[in-house]
C-alpha cells in the first residue's frame, strides 16, 4: 500500500521534474545524443573497416605449382583435407599460359610459339577461411609429394595479418576509449544537472524521505533523459547510415562494400541505446548519493 503509493508518486514526479527542469533535461539529453553519435559513428566506421579487411583477407590465394609428374587428383584431395582450406581450383599448364598472355597485354607476342613447349607448370589455387592460417597451410602443402613450389605472397600476407591485428587492436582500444569518453560525458552531464538541484535533494531528505524515495525519481529521470538522448542518437545514426547506403549504391563506390547486416547493425544500435539509458539512470542515482547524507 505505502509502497504502491510511493511508486506512483515517483513516476508522477519524474514526469513533472522533466517538464519543470525543461532546459536542464533538454540540454542533458542533447549532450547524451552528441556523445552517442560520436561513439556510434565510430562503431559504424569500425564495423565497415573490419568487413573491408576481411574482404581483403579473403582474396589471398596460395599458388601451388606442381611438378609435371604430380598425382593431380590425389594432391587435390589431400589439400582439400587440410584444416582451414576453403576452396581449391586447378589450373592446367594451358590455362596458366593463357593467363600469362593476358597479363602481358599488348606485349603478348613475346610468348608466341611456346604453346607446344609450355614452360609454365600446372598449379592449384587454394583459398583459406582466413589469412592467419595461410602460412601454416602453405608449409603443409609444401611437404606433399608432387609439389614443386608454393607461393602465396610470402611477406605480403604476413604484413597483412599484422596490419589486421593492429587495426583490430587499435579499433578495440579506440572504441573502449570512446565508450569511456561517452560514459564520462553522460555521467558528468547528468551529475551537473543533479548538482543544480542539490538543495531539492537536501530538503527532501529533511522531510523524512528515505534515500530510495529521493533517489528513485532521479534514477528514472536519468533513464528517461538517457532514453530520449539515445533515441535521437540512434535515429540520426540509423537514418544517416541508411542515406549513406543509398548514396553509395548510386555512386557505386566500387571498392567499398558497406555493412548491411541487420543483425550486426541492430546489435550496435541496441548497445548504444542501452548505454544511454543505463548510464543516464546510473548517473542520476549515483550523483545524488553524496547529497543524501544529511
Amino acid at each position: 500500500m505505502g509502497f504502491l503509493n510511493s511508486l506512483r508518486y515517483c513516476l508522477r514526479q519524474t514526469l513533472l521534474s522533466i517538464v519543470r527542469n525543461f532546459w536542464l533535461a533538454t540540454a542533458s539529453a542533447a549532450m547524451i545524443t552528441v556523445s552517442l553519435l560520436i561513439l556510434g559513428s565510430f562503431g559504424l566506421i569500425a564495423l565497415n573497416a573490419g568487413q573491408f579487411l576481411q574482404q581483403v583477407e579473403s582474396e589471398i590465394e596460395i599458388n601451388v605449382f606442381l611438378q609435371d609428374v604430380a598425382p593431380v587428383n590425389d594432391l587435390g584431395r589431400e589439400i582439400r583435407a587440410l584444416t582451414g582450406v576453403e576452396r581449391v581450383t586447378y589450373v592446367s599448364k594451358e590455362q596458366a599460359l593463357e593467363e600469362m598472355r593476358e597479363s602481358l597485354g599488348e606485349r603478348r607476342d613475346i610468348l608466341t610459339g611456346l604453346e607446344n613447349d609450355n614452360p609454365l607448370p600446372a598449379s592449384y589455387r587454394v583459398r583459406t577461411s582466413n589469412a592467419e592460417v595461410v602460412p601454416a597451410v602453405a608449409r603443409a602443402i609444401e611437404k606433399m609429394h608432387g609439389v614443386d613450389k608454393v607461393r602465396y605472397g610470402q611477406g605480403y600476407v604476413e604484413k597483412l595479418i599484422l596490419i589486421t591485428r593492429w587495426v583490430n587492436v587499435a579499433a578495440l582500444f579506440a572504441a573502449g576509449l570512446l565508450a569511456l569518453a561517452a560514459i564520462f560525458l553522460i555521467m558528468t552531464t547528468i551529475r551537473m544537472s543533479v548538482m543544480a538541484r542539490r538543495d531539492e535533494v537536501e530538503i527532501m531528505k529533511y522531510m523524512g524521505a528515505s534515500n530510495w524515495f529521493v533517489r528513485f525519481p532521479f534514477l528514472l529521470e536519468g533513464m528517461a533523459v538517457g532514453y530520449l538522448g539515445s533515441k535521437v542518437a540512434v535515429l540520426i545514426l540509423g537514418f544517416g547510415y541508411y542515406y549513406l547506403l543509398l548514396q553509395v549504391d548510386q555512386v557505386s563506390l566500387f571498392f567499398v562494400q558497406l555493412v548491411t547486416d541487420q543483425q550486426t547493425l541492430g546489435m550496435l544500435f541496441g548497445a548504444l541505446f542501452a548505454l544511454g539509458v543505463l548510464i543516464g539512470g546510473l548517473a542520476g542515482s549515483i550523483s545524488i548519493r553524496k547529497f543524501l547524507r544529511v
Partner: protein, 229 residues
C-alpha cells in the same frame, strides 16, 4: 521527549554556537526559545533535527540516544518532527500544495488521505486560494505559512518552529500561535524559536532564554525578558 546532556556545538570554522548546554523538553511541552541574534536558537533546533551533530554531549529523543541513530532511524525520527526552517527551504519546483503534500507522501500515505489533508492544512494557515502557486509567486509571509503547513500536515509528535512569524503581521502571527496552541492541546510537543516578544509575553508559556550558547533563564510561564515591556 528531548534531553540534552552537556551538549557543545563547535562549527567547523571554530564558532562555538552551543556551550555545554543541558535541557529537557517533556512530551506535551510548549516552549519558547528566545535570545539575541546568534545566541544559538537555530543551532538547538538543528541539533534536535539531526541537521547538525554535537561536538560533545548526548542528545536523547524519546528516551533513545539520537546520536546513535543510523539511516532508517534518522528518517523515521524526521518523519515524526514537523520543522519550520528559518530559511523556509521550500522546494522551488513544487507548488505550495505539492510542497505540503510532499511531507505526507514521503511517509507513504494514501493519495486519498493526501487530497483530503493538504487543503485542510493550507486553509488553516490561510492559503486556501494560493495552493497552486510556486514559492516564487508567493509573498514572504505566505511562503512562511506554507512552511508551517508543511510542518503540521503530518501530525508530528514534535513541532520545531524556527522563527515562524518573522515575516508575518501581528494578526496573522497571533492566529498562527493559536493554531500551535490548538495542536499542542492534542498532545504535540511544540518548541518555537522566536523574537516575537509580544506573543511570548502574552502566552505565558515556558521560556528558555539563550545567550552565547548557554541557557541563562528557563521559566515555566515566563516572559521574553531582555528589558522589553
Amino acid at each position: 521527549m528531548i534531553q540534552f546532556y552537556n551538549v557543545t556545538k563547535l562549527y567547523p570554522n571554530g564558532a562555538k554556537a552551543i556551550n555545554d548546554l543541558s535541557l529537557r523538553i517533556k512530551q506535551g511541552d510548549f516552549a519558547f526559545l528566545v535570545g539575541p541574534s546568534g545566541a544559538g536558537k537555530s543551532t538547538i533546533a538543528k541539533l534536535i533535527f539531526r541537521e547538525e551533530k554535537p561536538t560533545a554531549g548526548q542528545i536523547f529523543f524519546n528516551g533513545r540516544n539520537a546520536l546513535r541513530f543510523r539511516g532508517r532511524e534518522v528518517v523515521a525520527m524526521r518523519r515524526k518532527i514537523g520543522m519550520v526552517f528559518q530559511d523556509f527551504r521550500l522546494l522551488s519546483q513544487k507548488t505550495a500544495y505539492e510542497n505540503v503534500a510532499f511531507a505526507l507522501e514521503v511517509t507513504g500515505v494514501s493519495r486519498w488521505e493526501v487530497r483530503k489533508r493538504v487543503p485542510e492544512v493550507l486553509r488553516q494557515v490561510g492559503l486556501e486560494d494560493k495552493m497552486d502557486r510556486f514559492p516564487a509567486q508567493l509573498s514572504g509571509g505566505e511562503q512562511q505559512r506554507v512552511c508551517v503547513a508543511r510542518a503540521i500536515v503530518k501530525n508530528p509528535v514534535l513541532i520545531l518552529a524556527d522563527e515562524p512569524t518573522g515575516n508575518l503581521d501581528p494578526e496573522t502571527s497571533r492566529e498562527l500561535m493559536e493554531l500551535f496552541l490548538e495542536i499542542n492541546q492534542s498532545g504535540t510537543t511544540i518548541v518555537i524559536a522566536t523574537h516575537a516578544w509580544d506573543i511570548v509575553n502574552e502566552l505565558k508559556k515556558r521560556v528558555i532564554a539563550l545567550e552565547s550558547g548557554r541557557i541563562v533563564r528557563d521559566e515555566e510561564q515566563g516572559s521574553y525578558g531582555y528589558g522589553v515591556s
